[in-house]
Symmetry: C2
Subunit: 167 residues, 2 copies
């Protein structure tokens, strides 16, 4: 009898101890802040790969930073989906803007497990019609998924800080 | 001695049983799919509130769908942050586009706990200069945070499918 009671007590102790920890909103907030800080340098490294590929005229390298079925939404044109379409979009932009150099500043990263969001600003510097350097600036929002330990952009949209000059 | 051994065995059993469940990538994917499906109608309801406020000329109602420090990134203008600036931005747009009616189509929601992303398209229908209805269309990406059980937009960016006509 005592033995059976012990068993019940132990079983109850295990059951109580093994409740999945109920995360409070405050705990979730603190955990996400810590995850976001840890993920930010990883996203920044992927953004640096993206920028290096773009500035090197490597449209396939740009597309490789996206998930296979990513949605990319450029301004003043319809969106595209998938790495092939993304490669073509970027190859077209590189051809249209010869000598253009892209810079991206990651302003904020929010991560929760394998889902992260990255917000920032971009600058495109290019030779203008008069030979002087011309600059376009804008902002972007990108959604990243972690797949097999690596981060890939799944959704990407940007726009300009001012209307695009007629070219 | 036997009693001590029992204690050690029970303690070990509790320790093993109480390992936090290690979620595999597949499990995380399945959980996020199910969470996204559950969250999508809640986000759609908030988007409907946003659209109703916009079409009713209620800029404060539009701003109330955002977090207090939300970042809003309209095309061809610099971004703004915070509900006051968001209210002013929307009041300005409503005044600039009298009679314009907004429609939003939520295409995709991805949720993981209190973080969600919503991607979709928008249409603005307004009286054109010749009296006939004029339509502008575009796409958007929005990041939502769940706070005290309610979803608020924390980051919002959109752009156009074609360059804005000069007005």
């Amino acid at each position: 009898m005592l033995k059976q009671l012990s068993f019940v007590v132990v079983a109850a102790a295990v059951a109580v101890a093994c409740q999945p920890p109920e995360e409070s909103a405050e705990q979730a907030h603190a955990r996400m802040q810590s995850e976001s800080a840890a993920v930010q340098p990883l996203i920044e490294a992927r953004v640096a790969e993206f920028v290096a590929a773009w500035n090197g005229g490597d449209a396939a390298g740009v597309a490789a930073v996206y998930t296979p079925d990513a949605a990319v939404m450029p301004p003043d044109r319809p969106g595209v989906a998938g790495r092939d379409a993304i490669r073509e979009l970027n190859a077209g932009d590189m051809a249209m803007l010869p000598g253009a150099q892209l810079a991206i500043d990651v302003v904020s990263v929010t991560a929760n497990g394998p889902l992260a969001v990255d917000r920032g600003t971009w600058t495109l510097t290019m030779p203008g019609p008069d030979g002087a350097a011309m600059e376009m600036t804008g902002k972007y929002l990108a959604v990243w998924h972690q797949i097999d330990g690596q981060w890939y952009m799944a959704e990407d949209i940007w726009n300009n800080d001012a209307p695009m000059p007629a070219m």
